[in-house]
């Protein structure tokens, strides 16, 4: 009798062992462990078929290919498209080579990315901003001119800032998923590569607004939200409505009592699992349209949680780790000879709780 049950693969990522099904990628296995072990991803988007392998942000070192062939892989591999093998040993944050490479990747991604975060509406929830903050340098070495494009209006709701695009192809795959009529994705090559054509074809689709959520940078932005407010001054609230075309589960972003933006809900990896329709996203901007479920859980380390006070917020452990790493024993050699001298009248001194303790 043959065993029909799929055999689970044992993978070790950053010295943590995890069992996953065959066919899983390294990135998904690392996400199963969670936390810092999961490599960053700029182009990979789990709900989009075929995404991944473009940005190189998720490069990891495979120290042992499999149990049968334990040789290390010669180069760093993109973890989002490399399937695991039994007995694979992967190094992500434990390998200095990976961290150095990631620093280089940030530099490359930022070569043509303009430094207009103060103007950009994505700032505060931008994947590239987080990625560069975590792994990049504070300054740039690039001196040449960056490529520039004019900003384009794609339909009445979406604006394309091609200068900010990092060519992750996520929007292309989104368009693939929502329409059959997509003609072209990215036109041109190298510096001149530009997303176009297809997007005008997809824009009349009911779900075209999702390219805004999917975009890891501020290349595709919501025109109805343009310059309305900074992300971290708005308050996210989970809500739903009975929508005939989509699931209706959204996040409302409040400024005071006004809904100034509606987005789909994102999971802990900043990925949208349920696409929402354009009616929900752009047209229902009144509280009365929605059934409020409660405040969205925001990671305490996110800038969005600033100035929002909740009792159950979990504080980031960065400060605690920093304090623990810099802790030293205090060398206390002060003169204690005067500490024992009694300053109160004896009858009151005797009432003190520590009165009978031995002298220091």
């Amino acid at each position: 009798m043959e065993d029909n049950k799929p055999q689970l693969f044992k993978v070790t990522i950053d010295n943590i062992e995890v069992e996953v099904e065959p066919g899983t990628t390294i990135l998904q296995a690392a996400r199963k462990i969670g936390g810092d072990v999961a490599p960053p991803a700029m182009c990979y988007y789990q709900p989009l078929k075929g995404s991944g392998g473009k940005c190189r942000a998720c490069l990891v070192r495979v120290a042992a290919g499999s149990a049968k062939d334990p040789r290390p892989m010669p180069k760093l591999v993109a973890s989002c498209i490399t399937p695991v093998q039994d007995g694979m040993v992967v190094e992500n944050t434990t390998s200095q080579q990976v961290l150095d490479t990631r620093k280089g990747i940030v530099e490359f991604l930022l070569i043509n990315h303009p430094l207009d975060c103060p103007v950009c509406d994505q700032a505060g929830e931008c994947d590239l901003q987080n990625f560069a903050f975590k792994h990049g340098m504070a300054t740039t070495r690039y001196e040449e001119d960056r490529r520039t494009f004019d900003k384009q209006d794609i339909g009445p709701y979406i604006q394309l800032h091609m200068t900010r695009c990092i060519l992750c192809y996520r929007c292309v795959y989104t368009a693939d998923q929502i329409t059959q009529k997509r003609v072209h994705g990215v036109l041109g090559r190298g510096d001149a590569a530009e997303i176009s054509t297809y997007i005008e074809k997809a824009v009349d689709n009911e779900f075209s607004g999702n390219v805004i959520d999917v975009c890891p940078v501020g290349a595709l932005t919501d025109k109805t939200y343009r310059f309305k407010n900074r992300v971290w001054f708005t308050k996210p609230v989970d809500a739903h409505r009975d929508c005939p075309t989509c699931s209706g589960n959204v996040t409302l972003w409040y400024r005071g009592d006004d809904v100034i933006r509606v987005t789909a809900r994102k999971n802990e990896w900043n990925e949208v699992t349920e696409f929402i329709c354009n009616t929900c996203r752009f047209e229902k901007k009144k509280t009365s349209d929605w059934v409020i479920e409660g405040p969205t859980k925001i990671s305490r380390s996110s800038v969005i949680s600033v100035n929002k006070y909740r009792r159950d917020t979990i504080k980031p452990d960065f400060q605690r780790k920093l304090a623990a790493s810099s802790y030293t024993d205090v060398d206390d050699e002060r003169d204690t000879s005067q500490l024992g001298i009694q300053q109160l009248p004896p009858e009151r001194f005797a009432q003190l709780p520590h009165a009978n303790d031995p002298e220091p």
Binding site: P118, V119, T139, F227, Q338, I341
Partner: protein
């Protein structure tokens, strides 16, 4: 009962004849008084005369303009994010065609308000500003106010006047280590 070991013995001995006359002591006291007549007066006659506050004093906020007179502020919100007193608020707007000589970036602050009752003059807004737009003047106080409606300073009182440009003296004084000089136009 001994309270501390710092107690001093006080003597109560008889005064001598010279001490009993008091005249030498009076003369000594007068001499001190007369000496001060001829010394330089340490008092500064505020508000007629104002003292130099030093190169790192943090006073009146100013929203800088660049060399061409365009407002530098792009309403990114980092100053109000950094503000520990939550004193700053702003409303952004998009620059229209023909306003390129007024605002440097495509977004600008249509409303920029600082609540001076809340402000603690910590200078974190200056440190946070990525566009070198907000500065705390080292040479000017926020004037005393007596009415509550004078407290919120809008752009009319914050934006730098072209005939009253603010230049920070002392090039070694910088809000942040990476800050370029005040005159450099940021990209």
């Amino acid at each position: 009962m001994q309270l501390t070991n710092r107690s001093k013995q006080v003597s109560n001995k008889e005064m001598t004849l010279a001490e009993k006359m008091y005249l030498p002591a009076i003369a000594q006291g007068l001499a001190i008084t007369i000496k001060h007549f001829f010394q330089k007066k340490p008092t500064i006659q505020y508000p007629e005369v104002k003292r130099y506050l030093g190169p790192i004093f943090r006073g009146h906020h100013v929203l800088k303009r660049d060399e061409e007179g365009r407002e530098r502020c792009t309403a990114c919100g980092l100053c109000s994010l950094a503000c520990p007193a939550e004193a700053i608020s702003m409303v952004a707007a998009e620059r229209k065609k023909g306003e390129e000589n007024l605002y440097r970036e495509e977004k600008y602050a249509a409303v920029y308000e600082i609540n001076m009752l809340r402000c603690i003059f910590c200078g974190l807004c200056e440190e946070a500003c990525p566009k070198q737009a907000v500065y705390l003047r080292h040479d000017r106080f926020v004037p005393v106010f007596t009415e509550r409606d004078q407290v919120i300073y809008g752009k009319d009182r914050l934006v730098e006047q072209l005939d009253d440009r603010y230049v920070r003296t002392g090039s070694e004084v910088r809000a942040t280590p990476t800050e370029p000089t005040l005159s450099r136009s940021a990209t």
